[in-house]
Symmetry: C2
Subunit: 122 residues, 2 copies
DNA sequence: CGGTTCGTACGATACCCATCGTAGTACGCC
DNA sequence: GGCGTACTACGATGGGTATCGTACGAACCG
């Protein structure tokens, strides 16, 4: 893996809940928004970190920031600044430890639903 | 199974979404409320139907009605009138068909979280 | 340094929703 | 018929939240 070109994280830091403080209700709520579910599916489909801007969501930048914050504060993703970009990654291990199988079943369900609705249900 | 003493359903009917119209976002939203998650856990713990009143939720009757309606309209439970009571049951088969493993992982996650938080996290 | 890119902060807005109380309906039973 | 139980309908209320635009900050590049 080519990690040598990845810029180091910068001074700015972001609050993340400790694993033991992640609550199932908050995770479910975070995933219950179509926009955020789409983000999570995209993150799961690509290994490693993705910047906020690669998703091209059909909402304003402010709204995008809002959704990523909800995902981070609920414990679904980690975020870190690298240069001007903010990189996002799923907290797969933490979620699997706390709620075994949950993330996978949500991702599978989302995938099946997209197929069932003919991709129009976005 | 003793079904002979169960009163038949009465004339009043209730709207339920067809299986194919159940949406993952709606299910996740329904489950993201602590009160409703508690209801679902209780329903899962007891086989068959349960009336609305056996749960003794710490909210008013109107609010209880509201939560059961959200669960029904999102496709998580079925409801049917039997005499004066309204009986509730999980739509296990439909959910399993649409979103395999989802309900089980949520239930398991809720159970583990309750244990982790020492039952105080209700 | 100046410009560009990426993301944030803040206020506004409109909508959603969890909660309640009160009044009412449906059903079973006496 | 009259009563009690179980649940509903409706309106109100307060808090949450998805959305936007605008103005700002932080880092990189030339």
């Amino acid at each position: 893996m080519r990690t040598q070109t990845r810029p180091p994280s910068t001074g700015r830091s972001l609050e993340h809940p400790d694993r033991d403080l992640i609550r199932l209700e908050d995770v479910l709520h975070a995933l219950s928004d179509p926009m955020r579910l789409q983000i999570v599916c995209a993150l799961a489909g690509s290994e490693g970190e993705q910047s906020c801007s690669v998703f091209a969501l059909p909402v304003s930048k402010s709204t995008t920031t809002h959704h990523f914050r909800v995902l981070r504060e609920s414990g679904v993703i980690t975020q870190i600044y690298r240069g001007t970009a903010k990189m996002n990654a799923l907290r797969r291990d933490d979620l699997e430890e706390l709620f075994p199988g949950l993330l996978d079943s949500v991702l599978t369900g989302a995938h099946r639903q997209a197929a069932r609705l003919g991709e129009e249900g976005r």
